[in-house]
């Protein structure tokens, strides 16, 4: 028995957890730096609760890693169905925050079902693609069911409204489908469809503030003190870091409140201001190591479900990282997506913890189960 446990821990894949920890340490230091000079004690103590959330996330991740991927395969649709139900509940009785209904409150516990939905979707898609002729290349018609699987929660999330997370689900769907050998021709059609539906959406479907974000992205200086303010201040923060940054706790943009939300969406700007281009290369390398590890695992996994799930989870990480970084440096309109393990936020930390737990389980299963 003891031997078995020893064997287990010997073969346990710590790489994901260690990389996660590395990014988190950078993240929590950065969070501390961004909030230490803030006037309110609540803000100053954010990094402490971030540590608590991270600890919880680790416990959950470790717990999940104990279960074999087989059980996830079984639970996939249930998790999906349950999560969609939660999303509907949010619309009916959700708590409002920042002008959108995103939270469910159970007792004193706040839950953001849209966060978990990313994982549930990855699970559901992995299971669907595993079940239906996994050997075939995908044609457009093969995308109909997975698209429906994706679009139901997407719509529920977009009407909250949370356009960013909604789009993220679509992007996860695209990555997973691409991985499941979607034909290049079909990809071309999808891109075309996406452009058309996108412009139709813009014309009729978007709210005023969402349109403004996009316009602001195109020309932030048109309203530099208003809607363009964040984008400009963020670029200034990043650019002013130059090669090596201003140094830890020396961000002027953050300490003087030029960047609002500097503990959530704009942590990367503060990081860049303080650590410069050099620091960014280090941080981005950590993200790339993590993502490459995901992809390597997907490519070397012997079971098809595991492989697709790993890619789906990778997609969650990747899109968060890429979109957040792009938006703060003016490559994309500002959508409120956190930077994994860097931005403050319990739900987001837990989501990424679960991802890490799942992927560790997959990795372990190659040797253990």
């Amino acid at each position: 028995m003891n031997r078995a446990i020893l064997e287990f821990f010997k073969k346990y894949d710590y790489t994901f957890m260690v990389t996660m920890l590395a990014i988190f340490i950078v993240g929590v230091l950065n969070l501390y730096s961004a909030t230490h000079s803030h006037s309110s004690a609540h803000m100053q103590n954010l990094f402490k609760s971030q540590i608590l959330w991270f600890s919880l996330a680790n416990v959950i991740a470790f717990g999940i890693s104990m279960f074999p991927p087989k059980s996830m395969f079984r639970l996939a649709y249930w998790a999906y169905a349950f999560n969609v139900l939660l999303l509907i509940l949010v619309l009916i009785m959700g708590k409002e925050g920042m002008g959108a209904q995103r939270w469910l409150v159970f007792g004193g516990f706040r839950l953001q079902p849209s966060e978990l939905m990313k994982i549930s979707l990855a699970l559901a898609l992995a299971r669907y693609y595993t079940k239906n002729s996994p050997e075939k290349e995908l044609y457009l018609k093969d995308l109909i069911v997975p698209f429906i699987i994706t679009i139901i929660p997407t719509v529920l999330i977009v009407v909250q409204p949370d356009l960013g997370t909604g789009l993220l689900l679509l992007l996860i769907f695209l990555v997973v489908s691409f991985y499941k050998r979607l034909r290049w021709k079909s990809i071309g059609v999808i891109v075309l469809l996406g452009l058309i539906s996108g412009s139709v959406m813009y014309k009729f479907g978007l709210k005023e503030y969402q349109k403004k974000r996009i316009l602001t992205f195109i020309d932030p200086y048109a309203d530099a003190k208003g809607s363009g303010y964040n984008a400009i201040q963020s670029e200034i923060a990043i650019g002013s870091g130059r090669w090596f940054g201003k140094g830890f706790k020396k961000s002027s943009q953050a300490s003087l409140n030029y960047l609002p939300e500097n503990h959530t969406d704009f942590v990367f700007s503060i990081y860049n201001e303080e650590h410069g281009f050099f620091g960014s290369v280090v941080l981005i390398s950590l993200y790339i190591i993590l993502l490459m590890r995901f992809i390597w695992l997907a490519g070397s996994s012997l079971r098809f479900f595991d492989s697709i799930l790993a890619i789906g989870l990778m997609a969650i990480f990747f899109w968060h990282t890429f979109i957040n970084m792009s938006m703060v440096m003016g490559l994309m309109p500002i959508v409120g997506l956190p930077l994994p393990l860097m931005s403050y936020g319990g739900s987001s930390i837990l989501t990424f913890g679960i991802c890490i737990g799942l992927v560790t389980s997959i990795s372990n299963s190659r040797n253990l189960f």
Binding site: K70, F73, T130, P134, E135, V175, F178, Y179, K180, R181, Q233, E235, I236, A237, I238, G239, S240, G241, R242, W243, K246, K250, S252, Q253, L256, N257, Y258, N272, E273, G276, F277, S280, V281, I284, Y287, I288, L291, M292, I295, W296, A298, G299, S300, S301, L302, R303, F304, F305, S307, I311, M314, F318, F322, M325, S326, M329, G330, L331
Partner: protein, 669 residues
Amino acid sequence: MFGDEELIKLHRKRATQVANIILVCFGIILLRLWYLQVYKGDQYHKFSIQNRLRKEIARAPRGMIYSTNDQLLVDNIPRFDAVLTRQYLKNKDETLNRLASILDMDIKDVKSTIKKHSSQARYRPIIIKKNISLKEVAQIETENASLPGVSVDTFISREYVDGEVGAHLLGYISEISQQQLPKYRSRDKLDYHLGDFIGQFGIEEEMDKTLRGENGFEYVEVDALGRKKKYINTDNLFQGIQDKMPRPGKNLKLTIDRDMQVAAYEALKGKSGSLVALDVKTGKILTMVSTPAFDPSQFSRGLTTEYWNSLITNEENPLRDRSIQEHFSPGSTFKPFTAIAALEEGIINPNTKIRCHGTYRLGRRVYHSWKRWGTEKVNVRDALMQSCNIFFYKAATDMDIDSLAKYAKMFGFGQRSGISLPREVSGLIPTKEWKLKRNGIPWQQGETLSCSIGQSYVLTSTLQLANAYAALATKGKLFKPYVVDEVFDYNGKLIKKYEPELIREIELKDSTWNAVREGLHRVVNQPKGTAWWRRGFGNNMAGKTGTSQVIRAQSAENLYSKCSEMPYEFRHHGVFVAFAPYDDPKIAVAALVEHGCGGSTAAAPVVEKVVSQYMQKYLPEKHKEFAKKEKAQYLSFLRKRNAAREKAKKENEAQESASGAEDDSAQED
């Protein structure tokens, strides 16, 4: 379990593709980062510093003004405003009530002041009460903790040490007005802003550019809301960004003598008038006072409505500078120049005697002397002494007005003296051409008669009179009067020294100079002279009294009615001009007392005080010597007169007839 290894291999290819796409994405991110941080890094770095820095104007202290004896006349003193910053305001009603009680204000006024500024940013302080007392400052500071949002702001107030004394000369500063802004910007090529204080009157206005210095700027760190941070990080972030120290304004040393200035102000206090004293050998203005005056300090402290109203509703208009910005008929003080014209043109000679009849008839018009009954025949000296109108009428009968004007203008009348002070009037010396142009009517000889005694069209300012008499004192040296002696910087280094500027040297016959100067000496130093009774002791003055008629076309009735019984606004202005000491003249002094009736009763004592002040301060030995001599002369005169009176009394008693002439000092001239 679900697939096989074959299948997995199929997806390896896609995995590599996914990896590649992701690497490309991060490549884009890194490229963008390189662009922002390395390629444009310096620019953004500059932005981030500008972001947090606010350039604030560091106001240059205005130059100080000193008297000729290096006494401080105008100073800069810190004063305090009570201000409220709404951003930090808590317990609004409680705090405002307490503030109102500390400042002794009505809570309604406090609230309406705040309301007036409600549109401005909340972090901007609102001035609740200007210029609060030190006690109020202390109270606010000690209760600081319980008065969130209330604080004390310091500002530099321009303080005029002697208050109203010489207010018009020194002038005042106040905020530049919206209308002045574009004008001054283009005039001075300086970037004036609202809130800048500029000289608006007197020396402050004239020398504004010298006094104002050069504003600097300093950077203060502010946060996104524009709030000032307490400290500035002194790390390498601020390389290349430097404050500019303000350059203090330059100091002025005036030619003004503070003691004489105070003496003149004291003598004129309660009256409307002006006095100018100048150094006859240089043209330096020693005294320049106009009353009623205002307190210039009030303007830089922020005028209260009450004070402003009291200034503009005062009928005597304290804002008017009566020394150079007003002109008036010089009256008999103009007679010396008529005498000079007559002597030089050969109409009379120093010994020509003319009978001082009570009336003089030219054509149909009758001209009166100020004494109804004619006296004995007099020469020009005695005519000046007694201020005999008839003498000058007769001399003027044969005189061309243009030649009178020629001599008057030689002495600086009818033109600006050129003193560097704003808004000087030129006065008026009429000529034939001038009248034809103005009225379209040719000159009439009768008008020459009026002009010859300084009435009719002739207008002069106090300064012109003083300067013309200075030329009499120096036998023809007419200087350009000036008030600023030296400009020096805050280290005391001399930057500019103003030198006397001779306008012209008037060349007249020696006999003319002597006749006129002796005449003026007799006015003061002979018992029959019009200023004999008011000369004081120890000054050895020579001068001339004058009456500036307020109402024209007088009937014989009101000509001889007692001035002091007339309504105030119809009373004559009294004028007196003198130079002293007679043997070696140093100063010339002119005084005007509006509605003061006679020149000797109203104006001469004022001049006498200022001259005495000068003599005591600069020529004490001579002053004592003269005083002794003049007192002796006075006593012997009294003795003689009393003896004569005794004798007359006895004769009268014997004859039982009416009494003789009383002391006539009350109504000479």
